[in-house]
Point group: C2
């Protein structure tokens, strides 16, 4: 059935059994323990009430379980997307206000609609605009920006902003106002989390636990920090002395809510929603594919789009904010042995339970602890070595990565991405705008034609053979006109120009126009254009235009044939072909 391809759950649901269920449930338990602090923290990072993080971790997980194609992806609030949410909304409304919350849900709605739309319209390729250097530059910058942005919670001061340019000075000014109890709590949890991250598992093993058990318990490190912190605040009544805490959380599941339907606001949020969708999709797909490959499973980009789209719609209608597949959580989910998206269903159940039961206990949870969990989580995203690597490999790509990094840090999240995308498109266009073209001549005694600058070949004075090593399309169409005009201007005695199209996979309308212009110009200069070795698909397309009828030249099946016809004098007796050079577009026939 056609619609079945949109419901991967049918596939894995058919042979679902108790054994898989147990594994999924076990993984779900661990992911839940990890997700509770993270979802609270990322909601705070997005400038929203922490409980919204929990809301955003119920319905979205169910939606993805139904429509998503990855078996082990763990959907929910993630750092980068939360940062982008804050960046999109902070300029419009005061953080945490009613309007701000409504806009966050609207953002999730838009992102959900965009992703679902892309799924049905097969627009997943849009994510290609985000080249790897841009994405990695963006991720690193986000890590730094988030970490520094959270310092205010550690210091117990208020200093927020869109970029380092705004945040750093404000932090500096407010240093004097540091709230020492808060700072103490923050530093302690920071130290604990840092230690637990690397050392807790070995320590537990040393204490005699099995590696598996130790590993799973270690995941609960942040939860311990939270429990201790809550206990401390409650016993010492630290909230009375000004330690910022989560405060009252409405108990119970989120009601089904409708985002405020404000058209102007929607238009205003659209660009941000598009970027959030693309970035989230890219991050989610890359981790999903990595995990799927380990078990030789497949994920379908279109299903991923729909899965993430419905997840965001779920968030929008249950008081959440934009979500996507998280890297760390998904890996944990996978390691913990999750077999199917049912693990996500169990996780959602776990979060729902904790919303029902735990919310009163979270009242005294200090913001500083959440900030610490964020900082520890995001600093692992920062990777400067990749910048050096990219630069060494290709300065153009390095430039795009650096531009994105600096753009995000100094101007802002969206500006940074747009700068990076723009620059990589520019550089790409520049790179492809001057394809390699070689004047070729016949290798004596063979039927092969080679670059006259690299081989001792025979050239005909009246026939010019030009090989193009690139498809002909608008980025290089004008260069083709230039180049040919140049070549002909330098060779007054030339009467025929043979374009050797062995490397041409496409001729778009721009290139066709250029070819027609070239033909006209050549005619006025008394030169006739011919084509050789045109590929089947390209030929079919040319037949749809009138070019072949009126360009006046011939289309030769091979360059050799072209020379035979146009310059028989230069013809060489045929001998067995000489071995090829591998720098040509051809497999070597023999050694």
């Amino acid at each position: 059935m056609k619609w079945a391809r949109w419901l991967p759950c049918i596939g894995w649901g058919r042979d679902y059994n108790r054994n898989k269920a147990t594994q999924d449930a076990m993984a779900a338990l661990i992911v839940t323990l990890m997700l509770i602090p993270q979802s609270l923290a990322y909601a705070m990072l997005a400038g929203l009430p922490p409980v919204m993080g929990l809301y955003a971790s119920i319905l979205p997980l169910l939606a993805y379980a139904v429509f998503g194609s990855s078996r082990t992806l763990a959907v929910g609030p993630v750092a980068v997307v939360s940062l982008m949410t804050a960046a999109a909304l902070a300029p419009l409304f005061p953080a945490g206000s009613e309007a701000y919350i409504g806009a966050a849900m609207l953002l999730a709605l838009l992102s959900g609609l965009l992703l679902s739309g892309m799924a049905f319209l097969r627009l997943g390729f849009l994510a290609n605009f985000l080249s790897h250097p841009v994405v990695s530059g963006f991720i690193s910058a986000s890590g730094i920006l988030i970490a520094i942005g959270q310092l205010k919670h550690l210091l117990g001061v208020s200093a927020s902003g869109q970029s380092l340019v705004q945040i750093v000075p404000r932090l500096w000014q407010s240093l004097a106002a540091t709230h020492w109890p808060t700072l103490l709590i923050g530093l302690l949890s920071l130290a604990w989390l840092w230690w637990a991250r690397a050392r807790l598992k070995p320590a537990l093993q040393h204490a005699g636990l099995s590696a598996q058990m130790a590993g799973n318990l270690a995941k609960a490190g942040p939860v311990l920090a939270i429990i201790v912190a809550i206990a401390a605040v409650t016993l010492l009544q630290l909230d009375k002395v000004g330690v910022q805490v989560v405060g009252v959380i409405p108990q119970g599941l989120p009601g089904l809510t409708l985002p405020t339907w404000d058209l102007d606001l929607m238009v205003q949020l659209l660009p941000a929603a598009l970027l959030i969708s693309l970035v989230g999709f890219v991050e989610s797909v890359s981790v999903g594919q990595t995990l799927a490959a380990k078990r030789r499973q497949r994920i379908e980009p279109d299903n991923e789009l729909l899965g993430l789209g419905t997840a965001n719609l779920g968030a929008a209608f249950s008081g959440g904010f934009p979500v996507t597949g998280g890297f760390a959580r998904s890996v944990v989910n996978y390691d913990a042995g999750a077999q199917t998206p049912m693990a996500g269903v169990f996780t959602a159940a776990g979060i729902a339970l904790s919303v029902l039961l735990l919310t009163p206990l979270l009242h005294n949870l200090p913001h500083a602890v959440l900030a610490a969990t964020i900082i520890v989580a995001v600093l692992s995203l920062v990777d400067f070595r990749s910048l050096g690597r990219t630069w060494r490999y290709s300065p153009q790509d390095g430039a795009a990565q650096l531009a994105t990094l600096l753009g995000v840090l100094l101007i802002g999240v969206e500006a940074g991405i747009l700068i990076g995308v723009g620059l990589s498109l520019l550089l790409f266009l520049w790179r492809t705008s001057q394809p390699h073209m070689a004047v070729v001549g016949q290798v004596p005694g063979t039927e092969h034609f080679r670059n006259v600058e690299r081989f001792a070949v025979i050239e005909s004075p009246s026939v010019l053979s030009l090989r193009v090593d690139e498809s002909l399309y608008f980025p290089n169409a004008r260069y083709l006109e230039d180049r040919i005009g140049d070549l002909i201007a330098r060779r007054p005695q030339v009467r025929h120009l043979v374009l050797m199209c062995s490397g041409v996979n496409l001729i778009d309308a721009s290139a066709l126009d250029s070819l027609e212009t070239i033909v006209e110009r050549l005619h006025t200069a008394g030169v006739q254009l011919h084509l050789s070795e045109v590929k089947g698909p390209v030929m079919d397309r040319l037949r749809r235009s009138s070019f072949l009828d009126h360009f006046g030249g011939q289309v030769f099946i091979s360059q050799y044939e072209a020379m035979n016809t146009l310059a028989p004098s230069v013809r060489q007796p045929h001998q067995p072909p000489a071995p090829r050079k591998t720098d040509e577009n051809c497999p070597r026939p023999g050694n």
Copy 2:
């Protein structure tokens, strides 16, 4: 000398002689007669006092003569650029006001700086963003928009706007207010110009003039219309009855003026200036190349950029507005026998003279006549058949052209271009995001490898050979991951994957990351990646990264060698290679 390359005039100046001078002067005379009405008209079209058109036809011509590389390009005000100028300024200031005039000069300044900057920074390739379908869609739409926009002058009413959506209703409402004397003048000159355009030359020949002479005189058709109209207005005192006339024109040459240095306005005008520069450059270069080719001359894009840049700077400092190389005028200049840019110098002198002497006479020149000259000139730009042609050839390109056409007509000039450029980039990305990849096998008894779906070939169960027929870069990097993940998931028994890179001309940083991700994923699935037939340049680049050290596979010089090493069992005894199919990337060794 290095700087000499920026002064083409040294080249043609060296062997300049009386003979050439006479030819240039003759051509200049004809172009001047053509330029006077056009420059007045296009200034009006730009929403400026007609005399500014004359100002914009003096200094700019001298500047281009010094720095431009085309021998016969005729620079000055042109319809499309004037339209773009009006589109950029009309929303900001009332047409014809001081501020509006100042902004027009500022626009010329910006455009001049941008073009000159692009010349020195070698950014001419930016013009490639304007694919042919976008340009031709834009030109046709401009023609329609301009013609309809001029109707108000024929009707003697006021009804202006940025797009048909605005103009048409206003025209309709003001039909009642039609000023009949004006309409009569307009229709008469329209009829005369229309007739003169096609029939005047034959008629003159019939009257016994030489073809050459007749052709030249015919060019002066518009001038006659102007003279007659002025006479009629003066004798019948039509200006008294409300026929709009040019009015008082300050006599004398334009003084050297400095555009108002308003930073905010500059930033506001920058996008428009960039579009005007690019469009002007594209139009100018295409006509320049066409004319140069006829005499096997060359034009250097960089010199054209500088020539047009300085021309616009000249316009900015002499009370003009954005200029570029005009199509019609350049052809006339060429046909009239212009030999060098000195013809432009003579033309400038001619215009200067007429500014000094004729301006009083132009007082009674009706706007309707100028409108008629514009309409006749621009309707030749409209070409709907090209849309059909493009669509038949490639629906994607057709869509881009249609989008630009509609965008310009219904929304506005800049929006239309941006929509077209955006769409053609999208479609380009979509097109290259899924390159052709073929699983290949060995043709029995040969060392050639062919698509398993098109040839009867030998495949190894444990070694998968994949040929990629496209460079690997960010538009298709993720597709590569998808595709390989897919292939491996379907072939559990595969242990080696050989990527045949005979068609890969570039591997950018995104593709390198993808390759590294692929290697990792393959490892987790127990498969090893290898490369074969990697081109020299690509190999050099790969050596700059650590990929080759740690990817664990081998780089084979040929696919055959790869199979020999990885699956010797499948090896075939070597026999002389069979003839190739031309749909492969290779010349045919023999028939």
